[in-house]
Amino acid sequence: MSNKMGLAISFNKKGFVFSLEATLALILFGLMLFTLPQIQTTSLKELAISQQQNDLLRVWSAKESSESEMSTDTQKMFGQNAEVWVNKKQLLPSQKKKNALASEGILLDEKLNEKRVKIIVYYE
């Protein structure tokens, strides 16, 4: 038993030992790497999406469109990444639920019937 203890102690002596200075130096080095400035990639993706949503609403207000046409137009612009709601009725569903950007507009037909249209676009 005592022999085994002795072996264990000698094994410990061969181990990797950091002095206080070395530990502090490693911590400081780690902090230095951690505090390096990170690049903030700026993108105008949200602006582009909101412009496209606005386009759809403007075109639908200038040219009367049926619900199926609205779905087709939205799919042409955003593929499967968008949802369209008309008066709280979902016309076009989307499986993606990531970052979302929504635009809403009120369209009036010839008889001044109100259509509340909401377009929700999901993006990476």
């Binding site: 790497l33 390096l36 990639t41 993108s43 105008l44 412009q51 496209q52 386009d55 200038a62 042409k76």
Partner: protein, 191 residues
């Protein structure tokens, strides 16, 4: 004179600003004290240990890594600014194209002017206006082509033949001659 006295003499000579050689009065004395002088000089010397050398090398490597990281950061930041500029110009040109009217170069605006309302009808264009479009440049950035698709029929107007590797396409939904259409403006950086 004893060795101890000679050493005191040297020390006192150094204290008043004299060099070590002036402390000896004769070459014989200097020879006599040679061994002690070496000991004295060693005790004042600089010891450059292996530890110090290794730590110095580590500091240099750290400084080098830091400089590389900064350089990398600066290059990425520069590229990020360039990408942002291209994206901003592409969106600006496409937005101007569907919202304004400039009869000299309709890439700046191809909308329909409504004389009753005294304003341009946004997102409503004509093929006649679209076909008048010419390329415009903002430094290295230029408009390369314009594609419009009306009921699955697509037409592309090549506005510039310059070569480019970086391009961004801005897509807009409009009415062209009263029909729903999609417009794509390809904006590129020269090079």
């Amino acid at each position: 004179m004893s060795t101890t006295n000679k050493l005191k003499e040297i020390t006192s000579a150094q204290n008043v600003g004299l060099s070590k050689s002036f402390a000896f009065t004769s070459p014989a004395n200097a020879k006599h004290l040679h061994g002690h002088f070496l000991k004295y000089s060693k005790s004042k010397g600089m010891i450059f240990s292996l530890d110090a050398m290794i730590s110095f090398v580590i500091i240099l490597i750290c400084a080098l890594l830091f400089v590389f990281a900064l350089n990398n950061y600066a290059q990425k930041a520069e590229q990020s600014v360039k990408d942002f500029e291209l994206e901003e110009k592409a969106l600006m040109i496409a937005d101007s194209f569907v919202k304004n009217l400039d009869e000299n170069n309709t890439i700046r605006g191809a909308g329909i002017y409504d004389s009753d309302k005294k304003r341009v009808r946004t997102n409503e264009l004509t093929t006649e206006n679209i076909k008048k479009a010419k390329s415009i440049e903002f430094g290295e950035i230029f408009v390369k082509s314009l594609t419009y698709t009306i009921t699955e029929k697509s037409q592309t107007l090549q506005l510039s033949l310059k070569k480019s590797n970086e391009c961004i396409s801005a897509k807009r939904f409009v009415l062209i001659d009263g029909e729903k259409a999609i417009i794509q403006i390809l904006t590129c950086r020269e090079g």
